[in-house]
Every structure is written in C-alpha cells, then in structure tokens.
C-alpha cells in the first residue's frame, strides 16, 4: 500500500490507529483534551461510536463489547478515569475477550480541567500495561500494539496521552489500512472469568500477578522501548512529549525512550544505566518512572531539578538542567519575562443563555460589583451558589461573580445539600449544565429527594455539551454518529423522581427568570428550575444587532454588569460591537437598560459608536 502522509493531531492519530487496528465499538464522554478521539472515530460509518452519559458507562460499554468479541476503545480526560475507575478495576480483574484499549488524556498545566493528576498511577493501581506516544506517528502506530497486547495478555491496555500530545499536530505516515475483524461477535458463558463473585475473583487474582510478570518480560523487547545511542556521558530516560523536549535540550546524549511505561523493562534499564556515566529521568508531573527505577536499585536523578508541577517545555528543562550542572553555560542569554498586560480570560459568549440567570442570581444575592468600584463584592452574598463543570463555571469571574464552588462533575447538588444539612441559614442554589446533569447530577438529585433537601437546583439547558465543542448528549436526542434517537426529557425526568416544584424558564426572559428564582428560593421545598436557551455559538442566524442610543444613555454601566463581550466602553462611552451582538435571540441588555437606550440598530438615529 502506498504511504499516505498526513498532518494529524495526536487524538486524530489515535483514532485512525484504532480504526486500522480493527476497533468495532468506541465509547466516550467529551472532555478536554480527549474529545477529538471519539469525534474522529464517529466519522467512520463501519464502526459503532457513542457518546455515553459518563465515563463509567463508556467503560462498561467498551468492556461489554470486548466480552462479546469486538475490539473496543474508551477514551476520556484524566478526571474521567476517576469516574470510570470502578469498571476499570473490574476490567483488569476479569480481563478481556477481544482487545480493549482505555485512553486517558492527562492535562499537565491544567489548561482546561479542575485539577492536575498523573494517571500513570492508574496503570500501577490496576496492574495493567500502559503505553505512551511521543508524537502523532507513534500515537497511530501504538494502537495496533495496544490491541494485540490486550488480547495476548488478557488485559485492558491503558494508553496515556497528555494535552500536548493530544492537541499537537505532526506528520503521520499512514502505512496500514483497516484490518477487517475476523471474528464474529459472540459471548462465551464463563462464570469464572466474567462473574466476579468473591470465589471467582480470588481465582482471577493470581492471574493478574502472573500477567504482570509476563508483561515485564515482554517490555524488554517491545519495539517502542527504544535505545537511541548518542554520547555516553549522559543517558536520558524519558517518555511522551518530554522526549521531544529532552531531545532538543540534550542533542548529543543517549536516550532510552519508553513507549511502554508500565511495567518497566528492568534488564533494559540496567543495561542502559551501566553504559552511561550519568542517568537522568525527564518526565512530566510525578516521579513515576524515577521512583520505579530507583526501587530497582539503579542510581538516577530527575525530580531534583525537573519540576513536578505543571507542563514542561524545552526552556524549563534547559534552565533547570543548567542549574543542575548538566549543561555548560554557553552564552549569557537574557532571561525572558512576559510583559505585564491586561489578561484576557475566556468569557461567556455574546448571546450566551447562561448570562441572564447569572445576572439574576448575582443581583438577588447582591454580588455584583459596579464598574470602577474598588474591592470585591459590595456586601456579603445572600445566596450560596454551588457550581459545576462547564462553560457556566466562567460565571465565577467578575462582573457576574455568581459561583461559590466548583469541584467535579455533578458535585454542585450534593454540595448544596451538604451545606443545607450543615445548618447555614442562607438558601443554597446548585447550578449545573444539562450535559453535566445527565452525566452525574441525577443520583445526587435523587439523594436530595430522599433526604428531604430544600435546595434549588438550576439546570442550565443549552441543548449541547458546549465547553468541549458542542457534542450531543442524551438530552439532545442525536447520537455521536448523527443519528436521531430518543431524547431524554429533563422535566419528565425530574418530575419522575418525585419533585413537584419544577419550572421551565426561557433563558433570555429576564422578568421570568427573576420571578421564578425568587419564588424557588423563598420556598422551603426542593425545587428545580430548567433554564432553557440554545448555545449562541450554535444559533445559525443572527439578526439585527442592538445599539446604544447615546442621547438616552447616561453611562450608568448596568449593561456592563452582564459581562457580555459585545458591550464595550471607550472614552467613557459604552457601545455595542455590532459584529459580536447576536440580536433578537438575546436582548438581555435591552431588557435591563433603565433608560430604554438599547434598541435594534435601525430603530435608533445613527449616533455611531467610536
């Protein structure tokens, strides 16, 4: 087959590699930086790909498919594996039938996550093999190995990437095509393998240890564990994107580049160590490799000078290696310091359906800070607002200041109940998006019903999983592969678990939002408000933008308090950027303006903005 050369992201390469390796069932929940893996797989119409409600479900779907003879893949962001850790551990115990690959995309540097964690420890915890690509080419190639290893050793295989691998594009030589799966789907009844009653789980237990010993042996000659000889004064053990950085910083050193980072090839490491004067480990985040190598009695350093927090880059490795005496000072390079400039954090978009409800919560809770005023919020907040994971977490920032907590998917509801039960006097409101609610909000809401909570739960229903780039979910009724399916109705669902105070409010109707929030927080009953309005990025047609009538405007600044990026001020005059305003679907600023100075462009005599 003629080679095809493509520029692919790590995620696209993983998907193509899995496709060529004969994957038949793929499942995921969106999460940065993993989302594009399933998105890419969903474009292949001869496989089954789904957005699952959450990562735990996705893992179980993949496991079931593997049991039934189909090569399966499940992908998620690092914290997704926390959610899916229960079936992940189970998969390690039962083993697989057809190959099963679990992709965890870590986020060193916390580009788009709630924490930083090193998921390599999950391989050690679950006693499963782990592969790590260092660019898109390897991401493509290692998927074939991953499925083979899974079947040969009867284990799920963890493929661990990081943001910089998943979201970097590099050249891929595509040298395979899809292998048509040979085996038919079919399930072999085998209680000792698949039914983990204690009696059978105990039978599986020693098999896991034996598997690890065989895997460690396999790692010694695994082709992606490569020694690249340079000069022998320095030997660098590394993996993943850290290899690319280290290669730049130490162009003449010898490298032991690990494509399989668990279990480790002991003999290979010993032999490498014995042939270099000094051995170091360059790895991102925790001293995962370093401590394992030290436990073998091999002398090695790494985290003594390489940071264990955040994302690495060549510059950091270079600076720290110089300080550690590994690099000779060649030139007195000027240290570069980023200039001090106004920051530009991400914002809720113009026409965002979350803006109105946050403005209402913020004003009822007296959290708003007037433009130009110093200090934090004017008074103690009157409402406690527990938050969740999504675009709406941006409501935390000024001017809205409408969030008190954000921990993990679905946490807002359980936290709200906990605060209420702790006995704080103020009303607690939980704010959660539609996709997040379906992911992990249903069980805590059932818990609040059962335990007689009096909280108000606001579901921000923008009909999509917006933050990760608009993926479908059970509430939209469209599958990952674009098929129309059954949509889960949120109001029916919450009524069905016994909540009677359920309101559905238009996200852009400020009066209705205020009235409904008021009545819910004044009530001593558990209540749900579904705030419904489509994500503005997905609204196809924009209508006539709003403009400010400068004759009527007295610069009170209230419209600036909604934090809309289209509303700007220059030389003491507030104006609306007509290229950004979405028009009729929103009109929140128009509804709020006390002097009726905001109207469609054509309704105002042209007194143009600066």
């Amino acid at each position: 087959m003629a080679k095809v050369i493509k520029l692919l992201s790590g995620n696209e390469a993983l998907a193509l590699g899995a496709y060529h390796a004969g994957v038949r069932v793929a499942a995921a929940y969106p999460g940065t930086p993993s989302t594009e893996i399933l998105e890419s797989l969903a474009r292949f119409k001869d496989i089954y790909a789904e957005w699952s409600t959450n990562e735990k479900v996705a893992m179980e779907v993949a496991l079931g498919a593997s049991y039934a003879g189909a090569r399966s893949l499940v992908s998620m962001k690092h914290v997704g594996l926390n959610v899916a850790s229960d079936p992940f551990m189970a998969a390690s115990t039962t083993g697989v039938n057809a190959g099963m690959v679990v992709i965890s995309a870590d986020d060193p540097g916390i580009h788009s996550s709630q924490n930083e964690q090193d998921n390599r420890y999950y391989a050690k915890l679950a006693k499963v093999p782990m592969l790590e690509p260092s660019d898109s080419q390897e991401a493509y190639e290692l998927m074939a190995y991953a499925f083979d290893i899974s079947e040969r050793f009867d284990t799920p295989v963890l493929v661990r990437t990081t943001t910089r691998i998943s979201h970097s594009k590099s050249v891929v030589r595509v040298n395979r095509r899809r292998v048509a799966p040979v085996r038919q789907a079919g399930f072999q009844h085998d209680v000792e393998k698949y039914v983990m009653l204690p009696v059978y789980a105990r039978l599986r237990r020693p098999l896991i240890e034996e598997r690890l010993v065989r895997l460690a042996d396999f790692a010694e000659t695994f082709p992606l564990n490569q020694v690249l000889w340079g000069k022998h004064h320095l030997g660098v053990v590394t993996s993943g994107v850290a290899y690319q950085y280290a290669r730049e910083v130490f162009p003449t050193a010898s490298f032991l580049k690990l494509g399989m980072t668990y279990p480790l090839p002991q003999n290979l490491l010993r032999s490498f160590a014995s042939q270099v004067d000094r051995m170091i480990v360059i790895e991102e985040l925790a001293p995962f490799l370093q401590e394992s190598i030290q436990a073998m009695g091999i002398k090695v350093t790494g985290k003594e000078f390489i940071p264990r927090i955040g994302e690495l880059n060549s510059g950091i490795i270079e600076r720290n290696s110089r300080t550690a005496g590994l690099l000779v000072e060649t030139s007195a390079r000027q240290t570069r310091i980023a200039p001090e400039l106004p920051r530009r954090p991400p914002l809720l978009c113009p026409g965002c359906p979350h803006t109105g409800i946050f403005f209402v919560l913020s004003s009822i809770g007296r959290r708003l800070k007037l433009p130009g005023s110093k200090g934090k919020v004017p008074k103690e907040p009157k409402l406690i607002i527990t938050g969740d994971i999504g675009c709406y977490t941006l409501g935390t920032y000024p001017p809205l200041c409408a969030m008190d907590t954000c921990a993990c998917m679905g946490a807002s509801i359980g936290q709200a109940l906990g605060m209420e039960k702790a006995g704080i006097g103020d009303k607690v409101v939980a704010v959660i998006g539609d996709s997040t609610f379906l992911h992990a909000g249903i069980t805590p809401l059932v818990n609040a019903v059962y335990n007689e909570g009096q909280i108000t739960v606001i579901i921000l229903d923008n009909r999509t999983t917006a933050m990760t780039g608009h993926q479908e979910h059970p509430g939209t009724g469209i599958s990952a592969q674009g098929k129309e399916t059954r949509a889960v109705e949120l109001e029916q669902l919450v009524r069905g678990i016994g909540i009677s105070d359920v309101k559905v409010v238009n996200a852009f109707d400020m009066k209705a939002l205020r009235a409904n929030v008021r009545s819910s927080i004044d009530s001593a009953e558990l209540s749900v408000i579904i705030v419904r309005g489509a994500c503005s990025v997905r609204v196809p047609k924009r209508t006539e933008p709003r403009t400010i009538d400068t004759e009527k405007c007295n610069q009170c600044g209230i419209c600036l308090l909604i934090g809309c990026p289209a509303i700007q001020s220059e030389n003491e005059q507030v104006y609306i950027d007509t290229a950004l305003c979405v028009g009729d679907i929103c009109t929140i600023c128009q509804q709020l303006c006390p002097r009726q100075a905001i109207a469609p462009q054509s309704k105002i005599e042209v007194t143009k903005a600066p």
């Binding site: 050369i5 520029l7 940065t32 580009h111 788009s112 660019d135 910089r164 979201h167 970097s168 594009k169 590099s170 050249v171 994107v241 690319q244 950085y245 290669r247 730049e248 880059n313 060549s314 510059g315 270079e318 390079r333 000027q334 570069r336 310091i337 980023a338 200039p339 400039l341 106004p342 920051r343 530009r344 954090p345 991400p346 914002l347 809720l348 978009c349 433009p371 130009g372 675009c391 977490t393 941006l394 000024p398 001017p399 917006a466 933050m467 780039g469 990025v537 600036l560 934090g563 990026p565 509303i567 700007q568 001020s569 220059e570 290229a579």
Partner: protein, 198 residues
C-alpha cells in the same frame, strides 16, 4: 532554511487555529517536517489563543522556546505584545492594527496599552514591526471572518512556501462557498504587506 518558528496569536473566534492549520499543511505539502500546537483556554470564545508552528527538516518539540521565535503574526495588538518575549532578536512582527479590549478594560479595572507602548514592548526584541490594517481591509472585502487568510497572506512573503501551495491548501481547508473570498483576502494580505513601510 535552518528552521522557522512562528507564533500566530489572537483572540478566540478570530480564526487563529484554522490559520495555523493551513500554514502547517502548506509546509507539509512543501516537503518540510512540521509540528504545530495551540494553547487555548477552556471556552469557545473570547480568550487569548496562540498557535505555535515549527517548520524545519526535523522538528522535535511542538512548542517554541522563548526568545527563539522568528515570526509573530498577531491578529490583535494586545496579543502581539503579550507573546513578545518569545521573539528572537530581529524577528518579524506582523500586527493587525486592531484593538479588542478585554472585559477588565471595559469594566474600567485595567488599561489597554497605547500604540506606542505596544510598539515599545515589541521593540525590546525587534525593529521589524509591520502594522497592517487587516480588519478594515477584510471588512472592505465583505467578510470579516477572512482576517486569518489576510494575515497569512501578509506572512507568506516571509515563508519559503510557494504561492500556489498556499492557495491550494486554503482551497482544501475552507468550504467552497467562501473559497473565493478567502483567496481574495490572502491576495490582499500579500499586497498590503508590500505597501507597509517600517
């Protein structure tokens, strides 16, 4: 050519990522090794976005090093200054002469730097600064969303890639309905940069 490190900087929604994709694919079509990576925050719109594009015969790290970038293409003035510490001495800075004030500026909590300040920040590293009127030019062309192709047109004079490779790549990457106008914006950018004097 030994290597070319390029930063494309802008604000979420300005088309930075498509621009760096096009540049990467054009470099690949011209036979170079290329790596590119985007650093962007959590949301769809409004935040700072920067793409690193590295072109050479062999590229290792996808991220450029501070002090080693050869060309910065900034779709917005403040963003040009923000990443200036990445520039090598004598680097080329192509800056769209357009301001998008962050919310903190609109709320009166921070101040948007003046043109002279921005120029001085860039001048710490280079004198080769080209201010172009991209936003107004593409508005005249009739589609503000072609700013990214306009800026690529400006930059194309400093990259060792043939014009037909750029245009082929753009044609492949944008939908047929808006192909013409994107190519027109690219051409306009090439014209514009020739008329800009230091």
């Amino acid at each position: 050519m030994k290597k070319l490190d390029i930063l494309i900087a802008g604000v979420g929604g300005q088309g930075v990522i498509l621009a760096s994709d096009v540049m990467g694919e054009a470099a690949l079509a011209a036979g170079y090794d290329i790596k590119k990576t985007d650093t962007l925050g959590m949301a769809q719109r409004g935040g700072s976005v920067v793409s690193h594009v590295r072109i050479a015969h062999r590229v290792w790290s996808p991220l450029s090093k501070e002090g080693e970038v050869d060309i910065i293409i900034a779709f917005e003035k403040l963003e040009a200054a923000r990443w200036s510490h990445y520039l090598r001495p004598g680097a080329i800075a192509i800056v769209n002469n357009h301001a998008l004030p962050p919310l903190s500026v609109n709320l009166g909590n921070e101040r948007y730097p003046g043109d002279e300040e921005i120029t001085n920040i860039l001048r710490r590293w280079t004198d080769r600064i080209y201010f172009v009127n991209g936003t107004s030019r593409v508005r005249e062309l009739g589609n503000i969303r072609t700013l990214n192709m306009f800026m690529l047109g400006c930059a194309s004079l400093f990259l060792p890639l043939k014009v037909h490779i750029w245009k082929n790549t753009i044609s492949q990457r944008v939908p047929s309905k808006i192909r013409q106008i994107n190519i027109a914006a690219f051409n306009q950018g090439r014209k514009e940069i020739r008329n800009v004097h230091l």
